[in-house]
Each structure stands twice: as structure tokens, then as C-alpha cells.
């Protein structure tokens, strides 16, 4: 049975409006929905509010392209291939972007709260740090805390009223308009099967108002339902699906392909300046579609990244010196 959830990359990008809040699947340099990130840049989306459990190259591309006004998260970089987010750093220096810092666990618990319909989560993490410095409430300082999509407070303190365990911090649910996931398999009706670590994908998919799943392959729903215990996200939590092979490149995908470290290193090295970013975007984003991008990468590169089906990672990539 077809559910009519299939859309194209262009249609998927159009669901994300100027000013939308947005989040992604994956973890740092793994399983980021790049084909769609590139399409958002081609369509010159503006004023995005990224709310991410953790950032990565997708943050850096969108920020560098000027699509993002607010970034709420805990980390951005390229792991081994670029030690910090140079585009974000440049825009912070020029005061062209607002950054709201939480800790990693706080961001995760914020999405868990949103995913379970709770207004906030309570935790004992990061007490005593400047993450809780009231002067560093960026969205509050900017007068943006309207209590609708943006919570009235960055955090609140409370005392454990049940067991007397002491200070607790309450962090607001992460309410987002759109989640874009990039996974190995999705069924025609939206059932998702993630292979390997699923990071925070179940939480972000459930937290968002609209969930778009970009998969390496769309498979018969019946195939996934034969072994439903292996599935990760429920059919009806997914609104739109699309098939985009190699859609996470330059990030990696368990069982399919490795991170393209050389590509990320090149991006990191060349995009310290806005001119450098614009030049990189001209070469790799504008004027291309997804197939054109893959053609430009070329088969030798893609075969090199392709995972060994027994080991689930590539044995061909050169990782060290």
C-alpha cells in the first residue's frame, strides 16, 4: 500500500520556510541529511532557527550560507577533520547569529521532553557552570522569549520535592517545526529502520511537528513489518519520505559508507572566510542537483567510501597519517 508520503528533494526543502525551526538526525559527522541541506542552501532559505542535540558539518554549511539566525545547541565541529566550527565562530564574532548554549545532555533531555509531550525535563547536569549564568541567556537578552515556540526562560532551578536530592535544573522542551532525518531504510508508509547507533533520532522525529525522512532506499513496508522488532521509528510519526542514495555525504552512514574526511578537511580549510565559503558553495552546491553532485564526486571516491557489508565500515579509506 502506498501512503502518498513520497516527495522530491525540492518539495522537501519547500516544507522548511524562512524562519522555521529545524533539527536533524545523526551525530556530529554521521548521518546528516546533506542532500536536503544543500537544497535549502540552493533555495536560499533565510532566518532558520536550528535546535540541535549536537551540531556538525550541516550546521557549518547552513550557517556559512547565511541561512541561520539562531543556533541552539552544545557543540559544532568536524571531529578529526576540523576542530571547531569556523563559520559559526566567524558569524558569532561579527554578531550575525544568536547562539544559545546548553550542555549535550540538556539538549538531549530537552528533545526527550518534547517527544513525550512534557513542557520540560529535570536533570542534575552542568550545575555551577556558566551555561546557567543568567547574563548569558542569549534569546532572553534579545527579547525573543515569547513563551510560544521559544520558552519563557532558558532554564529554571528547583529542589527535588520528592526525595530531597537537592538542586535540579529544569530545561524547556525543544519544540521544533521540522525534523529532517537521514537513515538507511524507510518503508512506503514511513516505518524507519536505522542500523547501528540511532543517536537521538527517535526523540527528534517525535518532537518535531513535521518529520521528513530521507533514506538510502525506500523499501516495501511489508519487508520492515516482517521483523518489526528491528524498527526504530513508527510509520505515523513520519510525514514525508524520499529516497536519496548517498544523501548523507560528506557525513557517513553505518553499513553504507564512511565519512569523507578529505572533503570535510577541505571544507574546514577553505571556509574560514566568507569569500572562501562562497567559493566552496559555488563549486559544490549551486548549479548542481544531487545526481550532479554525485557525478562530481565520482565513482572512484564513492567506491572508496562504500562500507564493507560484513564490517559495516569502509576498509578502503585512509584515516591516519
Amino acid at each position: 500500500m502506498s501512503s502518498g508520503k513520497r516527495i522530491t528533494l525540492q518539495q522537501a526543502a519547500e516544507i522548511v520556510k524562512n524562519g522555521s525551526s529545524l533539527t536533524f538526525s545523526g551525530f556530529t559527522i554521521w548521518r546528516r541529511p546533506f542532500a536536503l541541506v544543500y537544497e535549502l542552501i540552493r533555495q536560499r532559505r533565510k532566518g532558520l532557527h536550528l535546535i540541535e542535540v549536537n551540531g556538525g558539518p550541516q550546521t557549518e554549511f547552513l550557517v556559512g550560507a547565511g541561512c541561520v539566525d539562531i543556533w541552539e545547541s552544545c557543540w559544532v565541529g568536524h571531529e578529526l577533520y576540523g576542530k571547531y566550527g569556523a563559520n559559526l565562530s566567524r558569524k558569532v564574532g561579527n554578531k550575525e547569529i544568536l547562539v544559545e548554549d546548553y550542555s549535550h545532555a540538556e539538549m538531549l533531555f530537552r528533545f526527550s521532553a518534547a517527544a513525550s509531550g512534557a513542557p520540560y525535563a529535570v536533570t542534575q547536569t552542568s550545575l555551577g557552570t556558566d551555561i546557567h549564568n543568567p547574563a548569558y541567556d542569549t534569546l532572553g537578552n534579545a527579547g525573543l522569549r515569547d513563551g510560544r515556540r521559544i520558552p519563557r526562560h532558558k532554564y529554571r532551578f528547583t529542589e527535588d520535592p520528592f526525595f530531597g536530592a537537592g538542586a535540579q535544573v529544569m530545561v524547556p522542551a525543544a519544540k521544533v517545526d521540522v525534523a529532517i532525518l537521514c537513515v538507511q531504510q524507510v518503508g512506503e508508509e514511513g516505518t524507519v529502520r536505522v542500523n547501528g547507533q540511532f543517536y537521538s533520532d527517535p526523540e527528534v522525529a517525535r518532537a518535531a511537528d513535521v518529520t521528513i525522512v530521507m533514506a538510502e532506499e525506500i523499501v516495501p513496508e511489508e519487508y520492515l513489518r516482517r521483523d518489526s522488532d528491528l524498527n526504530t521509528i513508527t510509520s505515523f510519526e513520519v510525514d514525508h519520505i524520499l529516497e536519496v542514495p548517498f544523501g548523507a555525504h560528506p557525513t557517513g552512514m553505518f553499513g553504507r559508507y564512511d565519512v569523507d574526511g578529505a572533503f570535510l578537511k577541505d571544507f574546514y580549510g577553505r571556509t574560514r572566510t566568507q569569500e572562501g565559503f562562497d567559493d566552496f558553495a559555488k563549486e559544490w552546491i549551486h548549479g548542481l542537483d544531487h545526481l550532479g553532485y554525485l557525478e562530481k564526486l565520482g565513482w572512484p571516491k564513492m567506491l572508496n567510501l562504500k562500507a564493507n557489508t560484513a564490517l559495516k565500515y569502509s576498509t578502503g579509506v585512509k584515516r591516519g597519517q
Partner: protein, 273 residues
């Protein structure tokens, strides 16, 4: 296997740091691993003195035994051999529940109370340089019984007071007022410990749990306590120095370079002279 100490020309600084970090791990402990050199250090401990340690990767691999070193904690190389491949909710819940004995972390700046900054250099509201942000640094540091920091030693990085407390040391800020208190007072029932060591490129430092102040424990070969004190912006306590940091053994070097990181992803091989 040859447990003799290697000669100075047989190893590099990264080998020394890796082995010093590895020796912080005790057998049967549950260890939270970050990307990079700590991952090699923990897996080295797993191969040598701590075969029963349990490894958690922040991205969601629980009790991992990766046959090949992962490049990052989200890597496809984490999964094989693990008890479970899961997600962040499991990793952080397990940590908050109190399972984690030891975490390895890094930082751009550390101060005399073990507070660490990975967020920005200079004033937060108008920074000279925005860095990566916290990642899981404060979380692991809040939840684990002990944390060990591995850092490049430069005078500007060893400060009296970090410009932004990303990760809580022994004396932290009590918000909303911001007065400095011992972390024990803030964490209540969740208090389990705190930073236990800083392994820098010059020496190994530890903390007095009561005063929360850092002191020098061992110097890496070729450095004197006085020289290391001169490389800190605060008055480093050098009255408790126990000696020189022990060099790697030949067995440890064998594991690092032949088994764990033969591709030299994190630890370069010293070229024979």
C-alpha cells in the same frame, strides 16, 4: 610481553600522555570515552591492566569492544562487539544514574579549581574566539565519579579563573547569585566526585578534594616542578610532587602502534633515529 620501560628515544609525547591516561583506569570500571587520544588510552587499558573495563561511547554504544579504533564516537566502528548499540538517551541516562566511574575529557583552558572552558576565549557576550561549545564535557564531568583531562600545556591555558566555566571543577558558581562554592554544596545527592587529574604535555596534576585546588603530582621527563609552575598563571602547589611520570613500557608501545592505532590516526609513531 615486555613490561620494561622504553628508552626516551623510543617514544613520543603522545605515547607518554596515552600511557599516563591509560594508567588512570582501574579494572572493572565503567569508562566514558571521548573522541581521540582518550579512546586509544582506554583501549590500551583494556588490553593491559584493565581487561574487564566497560566502555561507553557518548553516541550510544554501550559496553563497546571495537575491533578497530573508531575515528569518533559516532563512527560505524563502534558497534561491532558491543553489548548494545543504542543512542544518546541511554548513554546520558546511564551516566546520570551513576554508573560511570571515569570520564576522559579535554579543554582549551583549565583553572586552579579544575573548571574547564571549551566554549569561547574572552568575554562570552563578545568573544575573541568562539570554540566548539560544551559537547558532553559538563555532563560527563557532572555525572562521573572521576574525570581526567588531557590538555596541551601553554601558560595562557592554565589560568587563575577560566573566562567561561563550561565544565564544573571543584569550586563552581552558585547561580543565580554566582558566588563561588564547593561543588559538593551544589550537587546534593548527585555529588559523586569531580576532576581527579589533568594530564598536560608537561606533567600530571591532581586535586585536593577539600580545598579543590590543583597540585603537581609528576613531571614528564625533562621538566622541573619550578619550570612547570612558571607555565601556570596561578601559584601552582609543587610541594606534593611524587616524582617523574613513568614512561611507556615496550608492551604498551606495541599495543598502541601495532594493534590499536597502526594507521596513526591519533598517535604518531616515533621514527627511529
Amino acid at each position: 610481553m615486555n613490561k620494561e620501560f622504553a628508552k626516551p628515544e623510543e617514544y613520543g609525547l603522545a605515547d607518554l600522555l596515552c600511557c599516563a591516561a591509560s594508567r588512570e583506569v582501574q579494572d572493572n570500571e565503567i569508562v566514558f570515552a571521548g573522541t581521540g587520544l582518550p579512546m586509544v588510552a582506554i583501549m590500551l587499558a583494556q588490553k593491559t591492566h584493565a581487561p574487564n573495563l566497560k566502555l561507553i561511547f557518548e553516541a550510544g554504544t554501550l559496553d563497546g569492544r571495537p575491533p578497530e579504533i573508531p575515528t569518533s564516537v559516532g563512527d560505524a566502528r563502534c558497534e561491532m562487539g558491543a553489548s548494545r548499540s543504542s543512542g544518546l538517551h541511554d548513554a546520558f541516562s546511564i551516566a546520570q544514574r551513576g554508573y560511570v566511574d571515569l570520564g576522559f575529557l579535554g579543554g582549551a583552558e583549565v583553572d586552579q579549581y579544575g573548571n574547564v572552558n571549551t566554549t569561547c576565549i574572552g568575554d562570552y557576550l563578545s568573544p575573541e574566539l568562539r570554540l566548539t561549545g560544551s559537547g558532553g564535557n559538563p555532563d560527563i564531568n557532572s555525572f562521573a565519579k572521576r574525570t581526567v583531562f588531557i590538555m596541551v600545556h601553554e601558560k595562557r591555558r592554565f589560568t587563575e579563573q577560566v573566562s567561561y566555566i563550561t565544565s564544573p571543577g571543584w569550586r563552581v558558581r552558585n547561580w543565580p547569585g554566582g558566588e563561588t562554592v564547593h561543588r559538593r554544596e551544589l550537587y546534593g545527592a548527585a555529588y559523586r566526585g569531580g576532576p581527579s587529574a589533568v594530564i598536560s604535555t608537561l606533567g600530571v596534576f591532581r586535586f585536593d578534594e577539600e580545598s579543590g585546588r590543583i597540585y603537581l603530582d609528576t613531571c614528564h621527563a625533562g621538566n622541573t616542578p619550578e619550570q612547570i609552575r612558571d607555565m601556570c598563571q596561578f601559584d601552582l602547589d609543587i610541594s606534593r610532587v611524587s616524582g617523574e611520570t613513568l614512561p611507556p613500557t615496550r608492551e604498551e608501545l606495541h599495543y598502541i602502534h601495532e594493534v590499536l592505532d597502526p594507521e596513526q590516526i591519533f598517535i604518531p609513531k616515533v621514527k627511529p633515529v
